[in-house]
């Protein structure tokens, strides 16, 4: 009985879709565009987060010690800093190590070697490099190093340049996200209005049947389900087109995206592989949004008519 009724409701939904085929296509196109904006938002978010992560891995706080600071004092400061919960790693580079690294880097430059040998002492200071667990923690860590008790040992804390770049990146990400959210919102409202009118027109073309259905004792569920199912059908088709387009575009553009955003990085980032491995999240979000918009608009439209 339930199976037969469901089959009839489904058949009526397909008939509705066919009878208003151009309107159904228009609704499908608008819904697909909305979902593509959501896909875009998703990709921007993933790439943006990845760029930030990659960049922030390269950012650190460099603490330059005064020449008077002893190895023991430096060790104490390092252990204090590494005990912080927001610090991922610390690394001390002694003045000798720093000189060796500097020499190695400029081994082909005789003028630098000559200048160094003319100096009576090692000009490079002891330094401590700190990597935070998240870029947002750098300000706090940097401030903690400005504690007066450290002032006699620390010459300088280098962080401001990196801070500005990180803040700029976070700001750009936020602007892109907000714009995409706004566009998604506008499209969502458009989809709801168009879907609402599609169902109203469908109801109009079926008004005779609906009146007779009511007359012969059709339940409200039996009358309204085909219209809701029709809009769900539009949602499913839209999600299928949107997801297929998204994956095809990501597959085609993954290399360019990697080259553009992650050039010169040790590990390449494959956005297509990422999307494939997170397909449940992406498809789930699009299905959720599409079905919610479809069911809400058609439910309101039918309910208003049946009242």
């Amino acid at each position: 009985m339930i199976g037969i009724t469901f089959f009839r409701v489904l058949r009526n939904a397909l008939r509705n879709f066919r009878r208003n085929v151009w309107l159904s296509i228009a609704t499908t196109v608008i819904m697909t565009l909305t979902l593509l904006v959501i896909s875009f938002l998703y990709v921007v978010n993933v790439i943006g987060t990845q760029v930030l992560t990659t960049f922030s891995q390269k950012v650190d706080i460099a603490v330059i010690f005064k020449n008077s600071a002893t190895d023991e004092q430096i060790k104490t400061i390092e252990s204090n800093v590494s005990a912080r919960p927001d610090v991922a790693d610390t690394h001390v580079i002694s003045s000798e190590e720093a000189l060796n690294q500097f020499r190695a880097r400029h081994k082909d430059d005789p003028y630098i070697e000559q200048a160094l040998s003319e100096l009576q002492r090692n000009p490079l200071p002891n330094s401590l490099y700190i990597i935070a667990k998240d870029p947002q923690f750098y300000t706090d860590i940097s401030n903690s190093l400005r504690d007066p008790s450290y002032a006699q040992f620390i010459e300088k804390v280098n962080f401001e340049d990196s801070k500005q770049i990180i803040e700029k990146l976070i700001h750009i990400m936020a602007v892109i996200k907000n714009t995409a959210l706004l566009v998604t919102g506008i499209f969502a409202v458009l989809v709801m209005l168009i879907m609402f009118n599609t169902i109203r027109l469908a109801i109009y073309s079926f008004r005779e049947e609906i009146d007779i259905m009511r007359l012969v004792g059709a339940s409200r569920w039996y009358i309204q389900s085909p219209f809701i199912l029709e809009s769900m059908l539009v949602a499913i088709i839209s999600v299928t087109i949107s997801i297929t387009t998204t994956f095809l575009l990501l597959n085609a553009g993954a290399e360019q995206i990697n080259r553009f955003f992650f050039a010169g990085q040790n590990a390449a980032f494959d956005i297509y592989a990422y999307a494939i491995s997170h397909w449940v999240q992406l498809i789930g979000t699009e299905f959720g949004v599409a079905l919610l918009l479809a069911v809400m608009s058609s439910y309101i439209a039918v309910r208003r008519y049946l009242k």
Binding site: M1, I4, T5, R8, E208, E209, D211, I212, M213, R214, L215, V216, G217, A218, S219, R220, Y222
Partner: protein, 226 residues
């Protein structure tokens, strides 16, 4: 048994469509409801099929007070009451068979039941040979018989016929009335709202006369008097 107790129906800006109606109709009765246009005949039938709700009073059908009916119960009530209209209300793109099957589908009948019941109903209304004919290929009388057949799809206890002969010539009108008598003889209570005095006088059944929403006469074996 249908019982109306002090039933009134008013619309905000008009005089009441029905006023203080009290009457009983035993199961299996055949009742003609007569009155001029606007007397309240259609309103009385609409109250029975819960298309309208009374402003006052109660209507009880076999112990079920339908004035207190919930929205979700309306379909169940309508499956017990067949309704026939002056304008037939048939689906033009459906054949006679499909029009009747449509009503059965809506009620959840399974395909096997539809296949076996529809020909029987068509036989009852004498339209077996028109099963695959579309409404626009039929005469008015045939269309009304399809409409009656559809109303019988659920084997209703009550059949409400609102001016079923209003669009028909005398010959077809008599065919329809004969069919209603046949259905009544099978045990269905029939309420016939009509203007047609010839039919009412010839029927020699109970006649309820309404005038400006009031019950002015209720006679067994009555005649059309206005």
């Amino acid at each position: 048994m249908i019982t109306f107790t002090k039933v009134s129906k008013g619309y905000s800006d008009q005089s009441p469509a029905l006023s203080d109606i009290t009457l009983s109709i035993p199961t299996g009765d055949f009742v003609s409801i007569v009155g001029q246009s606007g007397a309240g005949k259609s309103t009385l039938l609409k109250l029975l099929s819960a298309e309208e709700k009374p402003s006052d009073g109660s209507i009880v059908i076999d112990g079920w007070d339908i004035t207190k009916i919930k929205n979700w119960q309306v379909p169940y009530l309508r499956r017990q009451i067949g309704v026939v209209f002056q304008d037939f209300k048939l689906l033009p793109k459906f054949t006679a068979f499909e029009n009747i099957a449509f009503a059965m589908e809506v009620g959840g009948a399974d395909p096997k039941e539809i296949r076996s019941s529809v020909p029987q109903i068509l036989k009852l209304v004498n339209l077996v040979d028109k099963a695959n004919t579309y409404p626009n290929e039929m005469s008015g009388g045939e269309r009304q018989r399809v409409s009656i057949a559809r109303a019988l799809a659920y084997k209703p206890q009550i059949l409400l016929a609102d001016e079923p002969t209003g669009n028909l010539d005398a010959l077809n009108s008599w065919d329809i009335v004969q069919l209603l008598i046949k259905i009544n003889k099978l045990g269905t209570t029939v309420l016939l709202a009509t203007h047609n005095d010839d039919i009412v006088n010839a029927l020699k059944k109970r006649v309820i006369t309404l005038n400006q929403g009031k019950l002015v006469s209720d006679q067994e074996g009555g005649t059309y008097k206005l």
